[in-house]
Point group: C2
Chain length 253, copies 2
């Protein structure tokens, strides 16, 4: 496939490597800066900062920019009719691209960085399209990139994003609180890493609900009281400890 990539950020660069590896031609990069960014130079591919003038002879245009910039980037790209235009965002609806006769979404459910290019083979790709031809095009491409392709509607993507806030953002906040508690008491945060990794890896063996352990799960009131006392310096942390322990106890089967 001939592909144009609009966006030279973390997602764009990782996608570019994955697409090249599968033998696709990226015929042009489009970005905001007037000069070709350093990271693009490696690819020896045409670069433009003038979106209205991007190449026409392409099969697919991938918009891989920040959520807030998708509408303005889409505005500047001409509709060539047979060219399918997709964005890569988890939280933006597909219909932000509705001016293109053929459009869709190709959302890789992973965090990317330019510093560490990662293989796409296992990354869940959530795809959506406004018609059968566009879907076939996006699906064929996605199946080549990953073994983990899912047809997900815009509404389902919102749910996915909400679930990710719990499983990733809030989880990271739990790590941050535990770091803070350890550092405040002169203990190295590294101590908990093996247990943290174990907790994440255990999801391969059983659902999280079944894997739940700890004082709240076994209704160990003595320990819960002791912990709340240790946290007496921070009513906020006490509130979090209580709220989550209550919820775990209500979940008990």
């Amino acid at each position: 496939m001939n592909i144009i990539l609009a966006g030279t950020g973390n997602v764009g660069i990782n996608l570019a490597y994955a697409l090249k590896k599968r033998g696709h031609s990226i015929i042009q990069f489009a970005g905001r800066s007037n000069n070709k960014p350093e990271i693009i130079k490696k690819f020896r591919i045409d670069y433009t900062c003038r979106l209205p003038e991007i190449k026409k002879n392409t099969d697919l245009i991938i918009i891989a920019v920040n959520d807030d910039n998708i509408p303005s980037v889409a505005d500047q790209i001409p509709d060539f009719g047979s060219v399918t235009v997709v964005h890569t965002s988890g939280s933006v609806e597909m219909n932000v691209l509705s001016k293109f006769r053929s459009h869709g979404v190709l959302y890789p459910l992973q965090s990317f960085s330019k510093e560490k290019i990662i293989p796409f083979k296992k990354i869940p790709l959530c795809i959506e399209a406004n018609n059968k031809n566009a879907l076939r095009k996006i699906q064929d491409l996605s199946d080549q990139l990953s073994d983990n392709v899912h047809l997900i509607s815009s509404d389902e993507r919102k749910i996915l994003h909400l679930a990710a806030v719990f499983a990733c953002n809030f989880t990271n906040h739990m790590y941050a609180i535990s770091e803070e508690i350890l550092l405040k008491n002169g203990l190295p945060p590294d101590l908990l890493k093996p247990l943290i990794n174990h907790t994440a890896a255990r999801l391969d063996q059983m659902p999280a609900r079944k894997a739940q352990t700890g004082p709240a799960k076994r209704n160990d009131k003595k320990i819960i009281e002791k912990h709340l006392k240790l946290l007496s310096y921070s009513p906020k942390l006490q509130k979090i400890y209580k709220t989550l322990s209550d919820n775990i106890q209500q979940d008990k089967q």
Copy 2:
């Protein structure tokens, strides 16, 4: 070293494998059941269920039983004077063993199962002892088992346990909530695994506080409102979402 292991559970069996691997002699297992448990038979080692009659010619007795049973097990073991007695618990104070002239703690900070014996090399071992000789004995042994040995007091172990509740128990509860949200909407929980693993692995690169992302971190009120609306079926989940988002926002630098 000649070692007696009191306890045939997950910790005991994993310790037995690790000790044997480093060339130590486990001269006896002690357990509750009258008959030698199946899992012990593999070791071809003497077994007893009568603690008061355990062998005397040993350097170390390791009590690896449930927290609640440590006092009664300790009660039944005679004090041989030069024999050091340790327990392996994260939340029980060392002085529960104070009847032994030489006593301490050897707490491996990891979850174990009999089904999957894991290597000790990277496991943090938290040790404590009531005198220099006991400490030297426990430290020498621990250094042979792991590269990750820490001198941790009983008070520090309490803090460690509290931090682990946040980093592991509460984290697992976040996974459970996200599973519930996905399943309720007919989406496969596996979708989030790559992101979950990424969130845990990122701790090797930066402190969790620095790695924080998500709507609360970037103060994205529109998304937060949308998420609370999606959770309107569960006031409990709304409360958790709000409590944690508020705390992340207060953490903002």
